[in-house]
């Protein structure tokens, strides 16, 4: 499908000739993601590294340009999908008639209110660049597990939000204050104090009355299905330790001049009961900058420099049964001593073994700086390029342990058949939030995307774990999106899809905002069903 000349020229007039392209060389690039094959399956395309390409890609430079672009696209009956740093298949369009609005040019930190601890950011501000600027004020930002190079705005308004530091820095959905939101028809709505006519500000995103943040997103965001977010204020956190950042050496051998009062603890547990108790205790004592559980192999990847390094470390870390990764940070000696005392006490009462204290596992200084910069999660991609995550529900620590326990035998079936990579069935990221008030768990499964049996296995494994979620009431995965998934999970979850669809119809009656990873209007759903029948 090609963009007609008139529309192209209209859009070009808004952003300038160099900021729009409908050339396939450009557009096909945006059809790629690390989960492209899964996307092709989702959209019924032949399997390929490339799913649907957008009809054009446009780079607006301001909120005003975004509004005009959205209005123009809406008027001509096309669709649009906003993306910023664009990591993951959720950034892809779901049809040939979608324009990608690449927000690369909107990269300003509009404001840092250090006293009231929030920062106002545009979509292409990164977690790392925001943190670097906040460090100057002794502040920090929450960063999602996808890494510091992704957009905190995207995470807060449109995507997920778990991060390795979530026990101390929360979940992205909960860190949003004022929001600037271009609705699918081009209207601009400003949430909270930003909407005031007199002296608008960014420090509150809720009200007056109920909060439109409840429409904007839930456990996950609309992933481009409900307009474009052009700026938001995010809550900031105290910088967790001495605010210094000095790195020497040359890649890859960096040495981080350790700030005072930082210490990793890798604490191993032999069984789920002790692990669960330890997670509860560590998080409720409010001592950890990082508190999470993952498999020994995952920790090996996290603490390895690269694949070569991983081969060396896998042996040591692979012996861990159920390790908690805990990072203590403090501002003062007395705080540090207190927190270390708490760690030692809990380790003892929960039958843990602190391998870092025993100096068996000693993370390098680079691991500390990567922890501060929330880079550790990216290491998960070291071992393999292809993985998907099962489960993903979020509620109490207890239910996430149930998920972990139930996962093992199911996963091992496929591991034993050599269809999924062998992590002992224990591949997991279990993350606590807000001092342990809740937690989520996702089980990454590595597969071989060139092996049809392995790909089929991962699909089957996902279906079986979904069935477990339903049978055991394990909470809806936060990765649920798209009509098919909503129509599957909705009836099992208070028929939420009915309300979600109504919201879509109210805010985007013409289905202009690409709904591939959100929910379609009823009429669009009918149209899609007809198209699929015709294809069949």
């Amino acid at each position: 499908m090609e963009l007609d000349n008139e529309t192209y020229l209209r859009l070009e007039k808004i952003v300038g000739a160099r900021n729009i392209s409908a050339d396939p060389v450009i557009t096909v690039n945006y059809a790629y993601s690390f989960g492209s094959e899964i996307l092709c399956d989702k959209f019924g395309l032949p399997r390929s590294h490339f799913a649907y390409a957008p009809i054009a890609v446009i780079l607006p430079g301001s909120t005003g340009e975004v509004q005009e672009v959205v209005k123009a696209i809406h008027e001509v009956g096309l669709k649009f999908k906003a993306q910023s740093t664009g990591l993951g298949p959720w950034n892809n369009v779901s049809g040939e008639d979608s324009v990608i609005i690449d927000l690369r040019r909107m990269d300003k930190i509009r404001k840092i209110d250090a006293k009231n601890m929030y920062a106002v950011i545009e979509p292409y501000v990164l977690g790392s660049t925001l943190q670097a600027e906040l460090l100057k004020f002794d502040l920090n930002t929450h960063m999602p597990g996808a890494g510091p190079q992704v957009s905190p705005l995207a995470s807060s308004t449109s995507m997920f939000g778990p991060g390795f530091t979530s026990d101390a820095t929360g979940y992205s959905e909960r860190n949003v204050l004022g929001v600037e939101w271009v609705l699918p028809d081009g209207d601009l709505v400003k949430l909270g104090t930003l909407g005031l006519k007199n002296e608008p500000e960014w420090y509150c995103g809720d009200g007056p009355g109920f909060s439109l943040r409840g429409v904007m997103r839930g456990a996950s965001g609309a992933k481009g299905g409900l307009g474009v977010f052009t700026a938001c204020a995010v809550k900031c956190y105290p910088y967790p330790c001495e605010p210094k950042w000095k790195i020497t050496g040359v890649s890859p051998e960096y040495e981080f001049e350790m700030p005072k009062f930082m210490q990793f603890h890798i604490i191993n547990y032999r069984n789920f009961d002790d692990l669960k108790e330890a997670l509860y205790q560590f998080s409720q004592e409010e001592i950890g900058f990082m508190v999470n559980y993952s498999s020994g192999l995952a920790l090996a990847a996290i603490f390895s420099r690269d694949r070569g390094d991983l081969i060396k470390t896998a042996g040591k870390y692979g012996l861990l049964k159920k390790p908690i990764c805990l990072l203590i940070t403090a501002r003062t000696q007395r705080e540090f001593e207190y927190k270390e005392k708490v760690v030692n006490t809990i380790v003892e009462v929960t039958n843990g073994k602190d391998f870092t204290k025993k100096e068996t596992l000693v993370p390098r200084s680079q691991c500390y700086v990567e922890a501060l910069r929330s880079m550790l999660g990216l290491h998960a991609f070291l071992a393999s390029g292809a993985f998907t995550s099962a489960f993903g529900g979020m509620d109490s620590i207890g239910v996430t342990i149930t998920m972990a326990e139930l996962n093992v035998p199911v996963k091992m079936e496929y591991v034993n058949k050599k269809l999924l990579a062998n992590d002992g069935g224990e591949g997991i990221w279990l993350q606590t939030y807000e001092y342990g008030h809740y937690a989520h768990a996702e089980m990454p499964a590595m597969y071989d995307k060139l092996n049809p049996a392995s790909k089929a296995a991962v699909l089957e494994y996902t279906m079986r774990t979904n069935q477990l979620i339903y049978e055991k009431a394990l909470n809806v995965p936060f990765t649920v999106d798209g009509d098919a998934m909503h129509d599957y999970w909705g009836p099992r979850t208070c028929n939420y899809q009915v309300w979600l669809r109504k919201l879509k119809e109210a805010f985007d009656p013409d289905n202009s905002s690409d709904s591939g990873f959100y929910i379609s209007t009823e009429s669009a759903l009918e149209e899609n069903k007809k198209k699929e029948q015709q294809k069949a």
Binding site: G207, G214, R334, K341, L500
Partner: protein, 503 residues
């Protein structure tokens, strides 16, 4: 004041009889009268409901809402015992049924491990605090809450809690809810939505703690702050903390409001201390004493502004924790040249602990003069002196006695913003005083809004004021939401920006 005709009420009662037990419906004018107004002046015109019902199950609520849709009735919920405030439960049109949840008062679950409780809306703070204490838990409380006030009601109203570091999000401590939308459909929000029944979820270790979702919207945020105009809530889960074993409270005082702000900002930033808030001497005296004379005496002894910072510890290392925090706080105090004290004239640590941990037998704001119109909004700490000045100017203009203004500033959302509250105390039996108070209240509210004060809990007349000061797209969006969840506007018509149906 409008009355419903007895004939119409009887007809409604007939239709309600299959739904409710006989002792759960009333059209007795004496009973109905108690719902027609509350103690806040000038927020609403008084109007009597046609009927009041006391539901005790979600089924009853659903049937009621369905009936309201069929018969074009209005429903106004209430869940606190009188005295009530802010006009939230006052009917605004004829054929209104008050849905009184005070008999739905089960504590459905106390989950010590997961630090969560599940309460029906009729559970009040007195009952809640007692039950939590027994279970070894520490609730998130507003400042010295009225014992008969609904806990769920307070959470739904976004009443600020007094421990900023546990206030991660403006929605805290509210988590999941079970509710009936204005359409009559039942729903559960957050993790409670499913899959599975609550029992099944619990069996798997679930605790209905995650408030977000299900999936890509968060309906709990649409219900909270809606003043009952989106859904009627039949239970909610709330965050709690484990009980403390030790407490140590400090005070930082000043003659100028902003004098200690740098210090307060610093300890908020580093998450030191638990309860942190600022009061003027009048409000601290009102909180601590029980009669006007004692209040007057105490206020004269107290410094003009008092910041309260309380440290706590729990478990075997409780005192270690306090030692650490105290040390760090003292360092920051020295840095800013501030003196922290642990006593104040006429104030003991036991009495302070009471207002931090217990419920007040009477609404504390009524202790001084019997009447109080409180003006409250969201702002940032650094802006509050400017608002205090605006209020004083209006008070002088309207001849309101400025010495009867109480001030309470509560940092919330971990210090990103504050609940800023001005309490106008007056004698409700004095017509002149009431009139002046009402005028001051109205004019000051408008003046504050004109200067950017964010009235995000817009009760009564504030609604018109704030919504005319808000971007129209916000109102349009809210209307869209209302049209989905309560298309016939049966729930609290006339609140917020939903005017249709109000005569």
């Amino acid at each position: 004041m409008k009355r419903s005709e007895n004939g119409l009420s009887s007809e409604i009662k007939r239709k309600l009889s299959p739904i409710f037990k006989a002792d759960s419906i009333s059209i007795d004018p004496e009973i109905l009268k108690s719902y027609e107004m509350d103690v806040s002046l000038g927020l609403n015109d008084a109007r009597m409901p046609s009927c009041v019902v006391w539901p005790q199950s979600i089924k009853e609520v659903q049937l009621l809402v369905k009936l309201a849709n069929e018969q074009a009735l209005a429903l106004v919920p209430t869940s606190s015992e009188p005295p009530r405030f802010h006009g939230t439960s006052i009917p605004r049109k004829d054929d209104t049924i008050v849905v009184d949840f005070t008999k739905m008062k089960n504590i459905l679950n106390i989950d010590v491990k997961n630090r969560g409780v599940m309460l029906e809306p009729g559970v009040n703070f007195g009952e809640y605090i007692e039950a939590a204490k027994k279970a070894g838990l520490r609730p998130h409380l507003p400042l010295y809450p009225y014992a008969k006030k609904s806990v769920v009601g307070a959470a739904l109203d976004r009443e600020p809690v007094i421990i900023p570091k546990y206030h991660w999000d403006i929605a805290d401590p509210l988590l999941c809810t079970e509710l009936v939308f204005g359409t009559g459909n039942m729903f559960r929000t957050g993790a409670a939505a499913g899959p599975g029944t609550l029992a099944q979820q619990k069996e798997s270790g679930g605790a209905q703690k995650n408030p977000m979702g299900p999936t890509q919207f968060s309906p709990f945020r649409i219900v909270q702050g809606a003043q009952g105009s989106i859904a009627l809530v039949t239970w909610a889960t709330l965050k709690v903390q484990r009980a403390i074993d030790l407490r140590k409270t400090f005070f930082v005082t000043s003659e100028k409001l902003s004098e200690n702000f740098d210090f307060i900002y610093e300890i908020l930033k580093y998450r030191l201390g638990d309860e942190i808030f600022i009061l003027n001497n009048l409000n601290l005296a009102v909180l601590l004493e029980n009669d006007p004379a004692a209040i007057e005496k105490l206020r004269k002894q107290l410094p003009k502004w008092i910041g309260i910072i309380s440290l706590t510890g729990a478990g075997t290392l409780a005192s270690d924790k306090i030692t650490w925090q105290e040390g760090d706080i003292m360092e920051y105090a020295n840095k800013f040249g501030i003196k922290l004290v642990d006593t104040l004239p006429g104030v003991s640590s036991e009495v302070i602990a009471r207002i931090l941990e217990e419920a007040s037998p009477v609404p504390w704001r009524l202790k001084y003069k019997g009447g109080c119109n409180d003006i409250f909004f969201i702002s940032t700490l650094d802006r509050t002196p400017r608002y205090e000045e605006i209020l004083r100017k209006v008070a002088i203009q309207e001849k309101f006695n400025a010495s009867n203004i109480g001030v309470y500033i509560q940092p919330i959302v971990q210090g990103c913003n504050v609940h800023c509250e001005f309490d106008l105390y007056f004698d409700p039996n004095n017509g002149n005083e009431s009139g002046i108070t009402k005028n001051t209240f109205v004019k000051a509210s408008q003046a504050l809004i004109d200067h950017g004060a964010f009235f995000n809990r817009p009760y009564g007349i504030w609604a018109d004021m704030i919504y005319s000061n808000i971007q129209p797209e916000v109102v349009k969006s809210m209307q869209k939401v209302k049209n989905i969840f309560d298309p016939n506007n049966v729930l609290c018509p006339g609140v917020l920006c939903f005017k249709e149906g109000v005569e």
